[in-house]
Amino acid sequence: MTYSFSKNSKITESGAVTMAEVPLTDIIQSAIDLVEKDQLVFKLMTATDERATKNGFKLWYIFGDASKHSFVVLSTILLDTTKFPALSPFVHAAWNYERRLHTFFGLIPVGHSDLRPLILHENWPEDIFPLRQDFDYQTKPERVKNTYTFHKVTGEGIYEIPVGPIHAGIIEPGHFRFSMAGESIVRLEARLGFTHKGSEKLFEVLPLDEQVHLSEKISGDSSFSHSLAFCQALEQFGEVVVPARALSLRVVYAELERLANHFGDIGGIMMDTGFNFGGAQGARLREMVLRLNEQLTGSRFLRGVNTIGGVTQDLMPEQLSQLRREIASLEKDFVEIIDVAKNSTSLINRMKGTGVLTNDVAVNMGILGVAGRASGIAQDTRQDYPYAGYEAVSLGEVPVESAGDVQARFQIRVQEVLVSLHCITAVVQTLPAGKSRADATEPVVLKKNALALSAVEGWRGEILYFVTTDDKGRVNRVFPRDPSFVNWSALPSAGFDNVIPDFPLINKSFSLSYSGNDL
């Protein structure tokens, strides 16, 4: 044991997770110690309502230790109180998690300086907390008219531009409030929550197989990664052994999902600079991958593929050779397109220096995935916390850029596409024989009163599922943390001091999910 827990904590270890129950009085110091002394990464923070059994809410703080491929979990119980000391003044990455707890559980982080509701809007009563166990999911609270105050910038010539929630393109809804000085962005505030669907609450009531389907819809463009993360968590509970072939197939499908979305985003970034050739080609490549997905699995977005214990779609030898052919032709096209893009000075000029997210800010906010790597954070869940068949695949060094601008995020995607293409080819060549899913003769029995953490490197970044079961072995809390929830907080910083015509490009280079954030 090398972590610096406080001496009052009760420590248990199971698999790759170290858990410590800490008294409320020590929790902040313990969390700070883990981050500062042990150099762990703050991953996630959430709560469970255990008033029925333990007389209070339980707070969970999850930290990651990439060097040991393991997670550290701090938990503390709030006995007969809803107040707890805020961690966000010390670890900024906890900021939005604490706001969420305040909105959805009615827990009060003392010392947090912005407790405006997150995700829920002015029409939702501020004294109804939907994630408490005594809130029935079918309750329809009366509409109220609260107020929401945007941050106000004052000064000579400062004006505001409200954008959205409905945008001109076919994208999800979200409101952006720009405070402007001429063409420059002085402050940007994003107001999301328009696609809130009550997914976390739904996980509490749906039967298990429908929960898997629900996880596919947390963010539709990451269907496979989300259901993979959720299935892995359930497999931990049920101690299901997933066959080797299924583990490898999961790698193939996950990389196909990454390819489709990276192609789409690479094209989208070029399109938003007005470089129409690149834009059209990116959309074309994405469509080719989606059609390939449909031919292989029957679903363009790989829905219905993941199941507890493996995958429902095995690949036949002729499908494998088709896959190999298509991957080869995709690579050839992609390399040609990127060659053209790299030689376009007007394109490079638009991307370079635009929307800079500095390494300091990115580290402070715990920015994940593509955006994190573009700002110098070398992290990749596939290598840091290996899952599925990734341990057996060599992905090479994690691509990292230091500039943190649109071009860096573009470059990271280009490099990742090449890695994905090679990864698929390698896995297909060495695909183990055997079954593609564990025998499912009986319904899976889940461990009781247990916690499972499951991390997957989605194409945006790390998707982390926090799942607990109750004393009857039923799933009673799921927190699907999409990387968008974390990365949205980087946008105001990246947009600051840019000219407003560049904002759509900056936004596209992050390419975040509204649905995954709003849940």
Partner: protein, 310 residues
């Protein structure tokens, strides 16, 4: 005969302009491996808009209601007064270079006012950007016409066209420089790359489209039609003032037909260049655009300097 020529001259720009827009879109689609809409789609779009109801903001004043008429009529007026296919279809006092420049400026002025009128943030920054660009473009525009006017000894556009026609080969360098300067202005004034992206849906990046964002129905149709007209006007100016080859100088049918044919070919060439440009480069950042416009001004200044030294 003269009257029918006069009528043809007036109608040619509004009739041809949607086709030009359609052709550019078609070529761009081909260059992107797409099939693209039919080249007559812009006519259908206008037809559709003219049959639609309008939504007008309750904050709109008479300027908002009146501006599309001004903007459209200015374009028709200018179309009547510049050499299109024949040298004998015009020659009015109103065909003066300065009249044309400032008639177009009047249209831009009302367009910008209309953008500001309903008080939406998008219209506001659209107008602000448009005024920034047109203030800088005006100098280049006047100087490019001034170069050829000095060569021809008249500021009447028909005069310039007929003069250069019979003097071709002389003053080659100043004319080419002035044309390059004019071409940059053409891109700025007609809201094409790298100044503006006519195909974008991103409201924050728009210039021309942001100003007409509040329009719908018939008034939107007039605005769209007017901007298509402006495109053809600038193509025709560029083609006939600097390279007046093929302009008819007579009233018999065959010369008129040759003149119209030459105009169509020239328009097609311009469409092709615009489509190629918009498919092969990214739009510039807004604050790089003044550099381009200043470059236009300098090109024209050099052109004028060359004339004087001859």
């Amino acid at each position: 005969m003269t009257f029918s020529l006069f009528l043809l001259q007036g109608l040619l720009v509004p009739v041809l302009s949607p086709l030009c827009v359609g052709v550019i879109k078609k070529i761009k689609a081909w260059l992107q491996n797409r099939q693209g809409a039919s080249i007559i789609q812009p006519y259908r779009d206008l037809w559709k808009l003219f049959h639609k109801d309008e939504r007008i903001s309750k904050d709109a004043s008479w300027i908002f209601l009146f501006a599309p008429l001004v903007v459209f009529s200015v374009k028709v007026f200018v179309g009547w007064n510049i050499p299109l296919f024949s040298l004998d279809s015009g020659f009015f006092a109103t065909s003066d270079a300065l009249v044309i420049v400032y008639a177009l400026a009047l249209g831009t002025f009302f367009l910008a006012l209309a953008g500001l009128d309903v008080g939406s943030a998008f219209g506001g920054f659209g107008s602000s950007r448009e005024m920034t660009l047109s203030a800088l473009a005006e100098g280049g525009f006047i100087f490019s016409l001034l170069t050829v006017a000095l060569l021809a000894g008249t500021t009447n556009l028909f005069g310039i066209a007929s003069h250069s026609l019979f003097d071709s080969g002389l003053h080659f360098v100043p004319v080419i420089l002035a044309f390059l300067g004019f071409f940059i202005i053409l891109l700025a004034e007609t809201a094409r790359f790298p100044f503006d992206n006519p195909a974008t849906h991103l409201e924050l990046t728009m210039i021309h489209e942001a100003m007409i964002l509040e329009y719908s129905g018939k008034r939107l149709a007039l605005m769209e039609w007017a901007s298509a007209n402006k495109l053809v006007l600038f193509f025709a100016l560029g083609a006939n003032i600097f390279f007046p080859i093929g302009l008819a100088s007579g009233t018999d049918i065959s010369t008129i037909l040759i003149g119209v044919g030459a105009l169509l070919l020239k328009l097609l060439a311009f469409c092709l260049v615009i489509a190629l440009l918009e498919s092969s480069m990214a739009k510039f950042r807004f604050f790089r655009l003044p550099d381009l416009l200043v470059a236009s001004f300098i090109l024209n200044a050099v052109a004028i300097g060359l004339i004087n030294s001859l």
